[in-house]
C-alpha cells in the first residue's frame, strides 16, 4: 500500500474529522477525534490491511501519518 492510500484508509476510521484534513504530515494525535477508540480502530485496520501488528507504544512513538506508515513498513 502506498502512503497516499494509507492516508485515505486511515481517514476512513474517523467519522467526524473531514477526510481532507488528513495529509502525510498530519499529527494525528492532535486531532480532536483521536482517542482510545480510534487508536484501536487503527490497530485493527493495520492488522487487516497489512497483516502486521502495531502496539499502543508504536502509536505513541510517532507523530505524523508518514512516520506511522514508515513504522508499519519496517515491521
Amino acid at each position: 500500500m502506498e502512503l497516499k492510500e494509507f492516508v485515505e484508509r486511515f481517514a476512513e476510521e474517523f467519522d467526524e474529522t473531514p477526510a481532507e484534513q488528513f495529509k502525510a504530515d498530519t499529527v494525528f494525535k492532535s486531532l480532536d477525534e483521536w482517542g482510545s477508540l480510534t487508536a484501536l480502530s487503527i490497530i485493527a485496520m493495520v492488522d487487516e490491511e497489512f497483516e502486521k501488528r502495531i502496539t499502543g507504544a508504536d502509536l505513541r512513538s510517532v507523530n505524523t501519518l508518514e512516520e506511522l506508515y514508515n513504522l508499519i513498513q519496517n515491521k
Binding site: 467519522d15 482510545s36 477508540l37 487508536a39 484501536l40 490497530i43 485493527a44 492488522d47 487487516e48 501488528r53
Partner: protein, 334 residues
C-alpha cells in the same frame, strides 16, 4: 469413554440497565452513534450496591431448575466461576450450596477465571463426570466487573455488563460436549488486572492518573490495556480455532454455527473476518448485554437456541480468550 452433555442453560441479568444514551450524557465526547459504530453494544445491565455475582448466579440456577422442572437434589457437583466472590473466604460456592438448597454431599468450588471461565469450567465439569466423581454438575458463571470500575472509565463501562448463567452438565442432554483445547500464558497478567485488594497489594494504592486519552488508570480499579488485549486476541485466535477443530476431528466446513466469547461487537467482527466466517454462521448477540465475561457464551447459546439458530444436529464451535491470559475452546454437538 463416557459421553458428557449440556442438559440445560439459563441466564440472569441485573435489572438496572445502562444505555448508550446514559453514557453519552456523562461523556459528551462520545455520541450514541459513535459507541454504536465503534463498540457495537447498545446497552448493558449493571448491579446495584449489595447485589452480587452470586445473587445473579442463584437467579440463573433457579430459572434453569424451573425451565426443565429439575429436581435439584440430583446436583452432585457445583462450580462457580467468578472473579467477584462475595468474600475473600469462605468459598462463595459453599454459600450457594445452602442458598440453592442443594445436597450437602457435593463438591462446591469457586474457579477464578475471566472470559475463558465458561470453557474452562465446562472442561472441568466434563472431567469430573468422565472420572466418575459426579453425574450432574451445576456450572455457574457470574461476574460484576462494574463494581471494579472507576466511574470515569468510559471504555470499560461501555464494554462490560454484569450477568450470570447456569449450565447443567450431565450424562445425557441436548449437546454432547466435545474435546477441549485450553491454554495459559501468564505474561499477559498485567494487561487486564485489578491490582490491589488481594494478598500481594492488600491496601488501596490511591495512584489514580489519567492517560493520553483522558481515561482513568488506577491500581484500585479494573485496568485494561486495550491495544495489548486487541493484539493478543487477533494474534492467537486463528491457531486456537485450528487446534480445537483438529482435536475434534472436524474442519471449518463441518461447523454450522460459531458461538464465541464476544469481547465487544467490534472485536467479534474483526475476528470473524480474520477467520473468514460468514455473518450467517457467526452468532453475535452482545449488543443488549455487553461483555458479561464468563457468561457471554452460555447467554449466546441460550439465545441462539431460542431463535432457532441451534437445533438438533447443529455443530457449534466455541472459543474464548481471556485475561490471565487463558484461552480455550471446544465443539458442541447438538
Amino acid at each position: 469413554m463416557m459421553k458428557v452433555y449440556i442438559k440445560a442453560i439459563a441466564y440472569n441479568l441485573p435489572e438496572k440497565v445502562l444505555t448508550n444514551e446514559m453514557i453519552a450524557q456523562e461523556f459528551p465526547e462520545w455520541t450514541v452513534e459513535k459507541i454504536d459504530k465503534k463498540i457495537g453494544i447498545k446497552q448493558r445491565h449493571v448491579t446495584v450496591d449489595g447485589e452480587t455475582a452470586s445473587d445473579l448466579a442463584i437467579g440463573a440456577a433457579e430459572k434453569l431448575f424451573a425451565n426443565i422442572s429439575y429436581d435439584r437434589s440430583q446436583i452432585d457437583y457445583l462450580i462457580f466461576v467468578t472473579q467477584s466472590p462475595d468474600y475473600h473466604l469462605p468459598t462463595t460456592a459453599c454459600t450457594i450450596q445452602t442458598r440453592l438448597g442443594l445436597s450437602k454431599r457435593i463438591t462446591a468450588i469457586d474457579v477464578n477465571l475471566g472470559c475463558n471461565g465458561f470453557v474452562a469450567g465446562l472442561s472441568l465439569a466434563k472431567a469430573v463426570i468422565v472420572a466418575g466423581q459426579a453425574k450432574n454438575v451445576l456450572l455457574l458463571t457470574g461476574e460484576t466487573y462494574s463494581k471494579y470500575m472507576h466511574e470515569r472509565d468510559k471504555s470499560n463501562r461501555t464494554i462490560f455488563g454484569d450477568g450470570a448463567a447456569a449450565t447443567l452438565v450431565s450424562t445425557e442432554g441436548i449437546a454432547e460436549v466435545g474435546e477441549f483445547v485450553i491454554g495459559t500464558d501468564g505474561t499477559g497478567a498485567e494487561n487486564l488486572i485489578v491490582k490491589t485488594g488481594g494478598a500481594r497489594h492488600p491496601q488501596p494504592a490511591g495512584d489514580l492518573k489519567f492517560d493520553d486519552f483522558g481515561n482513568p488508570r488506577s491500581s484500585d480499579n479494573l485496568y485494561m490495556d486495550g491495544p495489548a488485549i486487541l493484539n493478543y486476541s487477533l494474534d492467537s485466535i486463528p491457531q486456537l480455532v485450528e487446534d480445537v477443530l483438529e482435536k475434534n476431528h472436524v474442519t471449518m466446513d463441518d461447523i454450522d454455527l460459531h458461538v464465541y466469547h464476544q469481547a465487544n461487537t467490534f472485536l467479534a467482527n474483526l475476528e470473524r473476518r480474520k477467520l473468514r466466517i460468514s455473518e450467517e454462521q457467526y452468532y453475535c448477540n452482545i449488543e443488549n448485554f455487553g461483555n458479561t465475561v464468563s457468561s457471554t457464551i452460555p447467554i449466546a447459546l441460550c439465545e441462539a437456541m431460542k431463535e432457532g439458530r441451534i437445533s438438533k444436529g447443529t455443530k457449534v464451535l466455541s472459543v474464548a480468550q481471556g485475561l490471565g491470559y487463558t484461552w480455550g475452546g471446544m465443539v458442541l454437538f447438538f
